[in-house]
């Protein structure tokens, strides 16, 4: 088994995004997907803070701090891009106009439940941002994460133990070990064994009865 890197996970996600898709990339790891989108296809990146048609980071010295992404990093606008206010931006999500959002996660359950906003630790400062709106609104929620925690426990689980972000919302989980599809009826199907782990090892790592 050869685990793939975070950049390779991002490239694997990018391969599944079709031309014409309206896509929101969550803060953190999912931001990397933008680096691997095919240059010859029109794919529309939406950012929750009111921009559609977001372009790459500006050249050094060209930063405009009035033009930022959800992670508050300077970005650019592509020709044809547009700005809109926050209520319109989230109406775009909630109204089902967003094809795909890519989010990080602490845990994804077999039925597509997502936990990515809080570990529930006492004393932690809670923060949710747009995660619940995206989970409930985007037509497809793709999760990008390492399959195992630092302690070696699977983050793809039977039932989430962390506080939930959304119910039955995740459709695909891209990890360093394999790509999983969440299907109706609690079926988790391995659609790409990117590490070559094999069926037995994937079942052992996740503790789930996977379909292939």
């Amino acid at each position: 088994m050869k685990r793939i890197s975070r950049d390779e996970i991002a490239a694997r996600v990018a391969r599944d995004i079709p031309e014409g898709a309206i896509v929101n990339l969550g803060i953190g790891l999912p931001t990397k997907v933008a680096n691997y989108l095919p240059k010859d296809k029109d794919i529309f990146l939406q950012s929750e803070n009111g921009v559609l048609g977001m372009g790459p980071a500006p050249a050094p010295g060209q930063e405009d701090f009035d033009l930022i992404n959800a992670g508050k990093q300077p970005v650019t606008l592509l020709p044809g891009g547009s700005y809109f206010h926050h209520a319109d931006s989230f109406a775009m999500m909630r109204g089902g106009h967003l094809d795909i959002c890519v989010l990080g996660a602490f845990q994804v359950a077999r039925n597509g439940d997502l936990a990515n906003w809080s570990t529930g630790e006492p004393g932690a400062i809670p923060a949710v941002g747009g995660a619940m709106d995206l989970a409930a609104g985007a037509r497809d929620v793709f999760v990008m994460m390492e399959l195992l925690t630092k302690e070696g426990e699977s983050k793809l689980v039977e039932t989430c133990t962390y506080p939930l972000t959304g119910l039955r919302c995740v459709s695909r989980v891209y990890t360093d070990v394999a790509v999983f599809q969440i299907e109706p009826g609690g079926v988790v199907r391995v659609v790409d064994d990117v590490s070559g782990a094999g069926q037995d090892e994937l079942r052992r790592m996740t503790g789930l009865d996977l379909a292939f």
Binding site: N49, F65, H86, F90, I125, A127, A135
Partner: protein
């Protein structure tokens, strides 16, 4: 002749009462009305409830308002940031109440407040901790929760250009919460980079019609 332009921050912030609910525009630093926040600190109203996306970073802007001890409660989607130590310290010490609201629900609650909508049903947060205690209704095959409008005494926002009637246009993603917050407060105060003559703003491009704005103050750049 109607002119909503006021000469300075003192005039812009006059009359804000203790206990007021204050909407504060901005997403991170973009669109955050730092000069008006400084004006609010100087004005001194206390026991405020502030409604904003983030709860400040570093020692300036919203963080400075919190540090001044003027805020009782924060209604917010994302208070935790790498350098949100002022909020973190006050929250952990039990000196600040926090109402955590998903970002789109926050924007829509403010929109509802400004549009005379008595609440709305959303799928956002269904089945999560943030839905606890809220009415659930099954509509066309999905569960939705009832969210209440947010109305405020004051909104402080930052725009790019204004005219004397209070028409506003914004700059790029610094628009964010400004247009909805402008609609939801009894007293909306805008700090702008530039004031232009009536007719100079393209009517097709005005984002906030002047009806929503009571006071405009010009703050030259640098004081963003």
């Amino acid at each position: 002749m109607i002119s909503k332009i006021v000469p300075n921050l003192e005039a812009a912030m006059a009359g804000i009462q203790d206990g007021a609910v204050v909407l504060i525009g901005g997403f991170g630093g973009a669109g955050q009305p730092n000069a008006l926040i400084q004006g609010l600190i100087a004005q001194g109203a206390r026991e405020l409830t502030i409604v904003c996306n983030n709860a400040g970073a570093g020692d300036t802007g919203i963080a400075a308002l919190l540090a001044a001890g003027q805020v009782r409660k924060v209604v917010c989607s994302f208070p935790r940031q790498a350098d949100s130590y002022v909020f973190d310290g006050l929250y952990r010490a039990g000196k600040l109440e926090l109402e955590l609201v998903p970002q789109g629900t926050l924007a829509e609650r403010i929109r509802a407040g400004g549009a005379g909508i008595g609440g709305f049903f959303t799928r956002t947060a269904v089945g999560t901790q943030l839905a606890e205690g809220k009415e659930v209704r099954h509509i066309e095959g999905d569960d939705y929760i009832l969210e209440a409008p947010i109305k405020a005494d004051v909104a402080i926002i930052k725009a790019h250009r204004a005219d004397r009637w209070g028409n506003l246009v914004y700059n790029k993603t610094a628009r964010n919460f400004g247009p909805v917050m402008a609609t939801a407060a009894k007293l909306t105060i805008a700090q702008v980079m530039e004031i232009v003559e009536l007719g100079e703003l393209d009517p097709e491009a005005i984002v906030t019609p002047g009806v929503y704005v009571k006071r405009v103050v010009k703050i030259a750049d640098g004081a963003k």
